[in-house]
């Protein structure tokens, strides 16, 4: 069902989405568990109040977000028949030995077998199916840490989300290979998708999750996705996000994590390409002795826009967090980093570090960076640092004097800069795959259609 805005100026964006919700409520709630449906009305209410964005948080100061959400997009409440089988989609990291999950425009791609249960009790697959099958789990975890009250887009997602990925790793299980989620965007016309992920890693369990975002047709896309991640006591989870969408895509993501005592959570977001990318990453360190690592790398050129908003909340004593984001900006690209660290009053012995380094390759590129530390405890070790600079000319000359061409010296230096972040990926195979992709991206050889055998127009 397509809704055209004849005159954007006159039609209120919020009214449009609220009406869209009301008109399609039955479809949206079909084949979805109660826990997901029960929170929708409050969410649409919140959205009605908050609108797309909260003017106070200054998040969307440098882009016209209203325009992005006012553009005309198809919205599907039942998966569109795309007439293309799964087999042709291989994501950027295709040779990884992993448990593979595909989402097509936010809907789980397999018609049958919507949930897979491994021998060790690990469950993964369609979120909607899981919400019906495991109501108790959903009652406990769904929509518990996402912030729909303050974030209009999270509220919007909560109202509309029908499917996505569900992962459950039971107590003491160490999953033998990573779970790889490939989000595929495709379609003949502009499409908006809103999906939801729920990851639960139970006590003392360990898992690795790789999330790849790809576009497989040259239409315009708008994604608004929310993930909730629960890392229980002494559990370990590493999430690597690999974003490689084309320049006409707009990607808004909200990833909220909650960590219990002694857990270790690593989040690594690598943005290789995208039109407008807006990542919101938050972690709540709810128990003592948690460790949080939040890393990110973004490579932007042309008129791309990549923003990373992070929020690390130290709500317990004796926790450690380490945050490092790096950016390389070229042409007239825009980069934004806003990192918040909050240390609550009783969270003594907190160690929280944050660094953001950026290399600007052109005069027209822009980088806005803002560390924000709010420390209400006395006995803490916290630091933050930001650099915005150019390539090191001395190092370039040094490399050239050893026989490397300028371009190669530049690439080697940029790659060295980027590797700081990629090197933190713990799985060796994944690390080297991501390193290869980053190198290709720096060389300008990365296609957004890698591995796709479907012959689209571009």
């Amino acid at each position: 069902m397509k809704h055209e805005f004849n005159d954007m100026q006159e039609i209120n964006l919020v009214d449009y989405f609220v009406n869209l919700y009301l008109d399609n409520m039955d479809l949206i709630c079909e084949n979805v568990g109660d826990a997901m449906n029960i929170v929708r009305s409050e969410a649409i209410e919140n959205f009605n109040i908050n609108s797309i964005y909260n003017r106070e948080n200054e998040k969307y100061k440098h882009i016209d977000i209203k325009k992005i959400f006012s553009d005309s997009y198809e919205k599907y409440f039942v998966p569109a028949a795309l007439g293309i089988s799964n087999e042709i989609f291989i994501c950027d990291v295709s040779d990884l030995n992993s448990y593979k999950i595909f989402l097509k425009n936010g809907f789980y791609s397999k018609k049958n077998e919507k949930l897979t249960t491994l021998e060790n009790g690990v469950i993964y697959g369609s979120l909607s199916e899981a919400s019906i099958k495991y109501p108790e789990i959903f009652k406990k975890y769904y929509n518990k840490i996402s912030d729909g009250e303050n974030e209009g887009l999270v509220a919007l997602n909560t109202a509309f989300a029908q499917d996505g990925v569900f992962i459950y790793v039971p107590q003491n299980v160490i999953i033998d290979k990573p779970i790889q989620i490939t989000n595929i965007l495709l379609g003949e016309s502009s499409t908006m998708v809103q999906y939801r992920n729920l990851f639960i890693i139970e006590q003392n369990a360990q898992a690795n999750i790789l999330i790849c975002n790809n576009t497989f047709s040259d239409s315009k896309f708008l994604t608004n996705c929310v993930s909730e991640t629960f890392v229980a006591k002494d559990a370990r989870l590493e999430v690597v996000r690999l974003q490689n969408e084309h320049n006409l895509s707009n990607h808004f993501s909200f990833s909220h994590a909650k960590q219990e005592r002694g857990s270790v959570y690593t989040d690594n977001t690598v943005t290789l390409n995208g039109g407008v990318v807006c990542n919101n990453i938050s972690a709540l360190l709810a128990g003592e002795h948690c460790e949080n690592h939040t890393f990110g790398l973004f490579l932007v050129d042309r008129s791309q826009y990549v923003a990373n908003y992070t929020s690390i909340n130290h709500a317990s004593p004796h926790c450690k967090s380490n945050e490092h984001f790096k950016g390389i900006l070229d042409d007239s690209a825009t980069g934004i980093f806003k990192g918040k660290i909050h240390v609550s009053p009783h969270s003594d012995k907190t160690e929280a570090f944050q660094t953001n380094n950026n290399i600007m390759l052109s005069d027209a590129s822009r980088m806005f960076t803002r560390p924000q530390l709010e420390i209400y405890a006395d006995d803490v070790k916290c630091s933050h640092g930001v650099t915005v600079g150019r390539l090191d000319e001395d190092a370039l000359f040094y490399m050239r004097s050893r026989g490397m061409e300028y371009r190669q010296a530049q690439l080697l230096q940029l790659f060295g800069f980027a590797y700081d972040v990629i090197g933190k990926i713990s799985m060796e195979l994944l690390r080297s795959s991501v390193a290869d992709l980053v190198e290709k991206c720096l060389r300008g050889e990365l296609s957004q259609c890698i591995g796709c055998t479907y012959q689209c127009k571009k």
Partner: protein, 258 residues
């Protein structure tokens, strides 16, 4: 091998080299000495093509080719090598990758295929032994966190890998203790072939005990004011540079002042 004719160069509009003349034949080792600020490092920078330096007059021929029109990488491919006074740290780039990239560029220039991984490692091990460099340094980022001695040894290691025709050692002795100095000098001597040449830039005579030059030049105020045999080093060590400064002022003014 190298012919420098009336070389004038400036940086930021300030003239540093004011007419340098020098002739270096294949197989020779020349030392360039001189007080601080005389233009020694500028000469090295101009010869290797460091951006920011402007050649206002003169020419430099390297094996018959005009060196000054070449890019730094072309000069390297032609066989010129500079051991930096202050080797640059490159975070995130491992010594192995750095060296592999450099060596393969040289091979490409010579029309050779890139070395296979095993061939490269074999060559690297061989050359590392020569300069007594710790194999652990190879996996680390180029010069990052290296001690002064390790950095200089790494320069000589790179020189060993690239096998240049002409090596310029810019104050390679600075910041080295006696043992490191001996190792570095030993590496240079082992790499010396009858058809390769070396320019040693130094303040002190000390290094020249280990790397024995055929000719010594004294650079002062942007010009070579004295050229003599190796015995000059000892004379300089004893008398300093002041007597040459006077001589230079005599040359400049063309008259004696009492």
């Amino acid at each position: 091998m190298l012919r420098i004719k009336n070389l004038h160069a400036s940086i930021g509009g300030k003239e540093i080299l004011k007419g340098v003349n020098l002739l270096l034949n294949a197989g020779e080792i020349h030392a360039i000495m001189g007080p601080n600020g005389s233009g020694k490092s500028t000469l090295a920078a101009v010869l290797t093509g460091k951006p920011g330096y402007e050649v206002t007059e003169g020419e430099v021929l390297f094996n018959g080719k005009n060196l000054l029109t070449m890019s730094p990488e072309e000069r390297s491919h032609e066989g010129l090598f500079l051991s930096f006074q202050y080797p640059v740290e490159i975070p995130g780039v491992s010594n192995v990758n750095f060296m592999k990239a450099a060596l393969n560029e040289h091979r490409k220039h010579k029309g050779l295929e890139p070395l296979s991984a095993s061939e490269f490692l074999k060559l690297m091990r061989e050359k590392m032994a020569l300069v007594e460099i710790d194999s652990r340094l190879t996996s680390r980022s180029v010069n990052e966190g290296f001690s002064g001695g390790e950095k200089k040894r790494n320069e000589i290691f790179q020189m060993a890998m690239l096998e240049p025709k002409l090596s310029i050692l810019d104050e390679t002795d600075s910041g080295l203790d006696i043992d490191a100095l001996r190792i570095v000098a030993n590496g240079v001597n082992l790499l010396k072939r009858p058809d390769t040449s070396t320019i040693v830039i130094t303040h002190y005579q000390r290094l020249l005990n280990y790397i024995v030059p055929d000719v010594i030049h004294v650079l002062y105020n942007g010009k070579i004011v004295k050229t003599a045999g190796r015995e000059l080093a000892l004379e300089l060590e004893e008398k300093g540079y002041d007597w040459l400064k006077t001589e230079e002022s005599i040359i400049n003014t063309g008259e004696l002042k009492d």
